[in-house]
């Protein structure tokens, strides 16, 4: 009886230890929640093809076609963090950033109001963009939101967005410089 009890204690202790370790690693950001990697791979492959198509359209000076292609991507069902991890959010930020860059650079093509562009920026960033690891795509989209705020006449919001994007880029630069050059 005593022997059985110690085995149960040992197994319970190991399970608790493993759970605590995983929780600690997750909290430390060392485990990215991506339980469905195939979703991320499929998304990346789809987007790569679409980005190539947009590249081709832009090469042909078809800005309207490129914008339409990127607008089409807005309609897809984007996987969330729980399914595809942070990378899926980053890929979304890339698509929306490219779309908004084109719209800001070509305001006469399928024109949209600043308020409409601000809505697109908010949609692209999503509610959890601050929760993901700092990256160049998110920084760019935040900076674009600043440009849109400026067009809306909201200078305070624009400055806030610019500063946020600047903080991200500064962190990325420090991170890159932290290691010796290869």
């Amino acid at each position: 009886m005593k022997r059985t009890f110690s085995w149960i204690s040992l197994v319970a202790g190991m399970a608790l230890g493993a759970a605590l370790m995983l929780a600690g690693l997750a909290q430390a950001g060392r485990l990215a929640p991506a339980p469905k990697p195939e979703v991320l791979v499929t998304l990346a492959q789809t987007l790569e093809a679409e980005h190539r198509r947009v590249d081709l359209l832009l090469k042909q000076k078809d800005v309207a076609g490129a914008i339409a292609a990127l607008e089409q991507l807005r309609t897809i069902e984007w996987p969330d963090r729980a399914d595809a991890g942070d990378a899926a959010i980053v890929l979304r930020h890339d698509v929306y950033g490219r779309l908004l860059r084109l719209r800001l650079d070509h305001p006469t093509v399928d024109p949209k109001t600043p308020d409409a562009l601000a809505a697109v920026a908010g949609e692209g960033l999503g509610p959890d963009y601050k929760a993901i690891t700092t990256n160049a795509f998110t920084a760019r989209l935040v900076g674009l939101r600043g440009e849109i705020s400026e067009k809306q006449g909201r200078d305070d919001a624009a400055l806030t967005a610019y500063e946020e994007a600047l903080d991200m880029n500064r962190a990325l630069l420090q991170q890159a410089l932290a290691g010796a050059a290869p």
């Binding site: 950001g29 492959q45 160049a136």
Partner: protein
């Protein structure tokens, strides 16, 4: 991505610069995400010595792993940590070993690491990219410098935006302070870019 970066970033048009840097980051991210299944195959093959020789092809696996390690390092340099699909798919014991070891394995199979760790430091010495035949900088150093200079370009663009707002708000210290801070950031990042070249 072959555009030569001169000493004056302002010589490049903002649109060209934006397009170039984003294409760099995007290609790295998409390549890495699309290569995840390859990593899985490479890992499996490397861990199954009983597989037929023709199916294993160690040279290919080494090449793929080296490529993945390089892409992973580039991703980390721009702040995109590698997702953890491999750990999620690995057997529980293996996942625990990988997570607990904190990066004891090779670079291609290393778990997601702390952001503080540099891309260069994460590279195993045995996987150092060879210098080019002409004796010039290695591709990895070129990529490193592109990352630094692209980030510098982004910072300086933001400085332009921020300092463009300041004259409209002469009585608001926040705008002036932000402009000054952004100018310092731009200067320092530009120096880092030039030093890398």
């Amino acid at each position: 991505m072959t555009t030569a970066r001169g000493p004056a970033l302002s010589d490049l048009s903002a649109r060209t610069l934006r397009s170039r840097q984003v294409v760099t980051f995007r290609s790295i991210l998409l390549l890495f995400a699309a290569a995840l299944p390859l990593a899985g195959c490479a890992k499996k093959s490397a861990h199954e010595p009983s597989a037929p020789e023709a199916a294993t092809r160690p040279d290919d696996i080494d090449r793929i792993e080296q490529e993945l390690a390089s892409r992973e390092a580039q991703l980390r340099a721009i702040g995109i940590a590698r997702p953890a699909p491999l750990e999620a798919r690995a057997p529980a014991s293996e996942a625990a070993e990988v997570a607990g070891a904190g990066g004891g394995g090779d670079a291609a199979e290393a778990p997601r690491r702390d952001q503080e760790k540099s891309a260069a430091a994460d590279m195993a010495p045995t996987q150092a990219a060879p210098a080019s035949a002409s004796g010039g900088p290695s591709p990895r150093r070129t990529s490193y410098c592109e990352t630094i200079c692209d980030l510098s370009a982004s910072i300086c663009q933001l400085q332009d935006h921020i300092c463009g707002l300041a004259p409209r708000h002469p009585d608001e210290p926040r705008y002036q302070a932000a402009c000054e801070r952004a100018a310092v950031d731009c200067q320092l990042s530009t120096e880092a870019c030039h030093a890398c070249r």
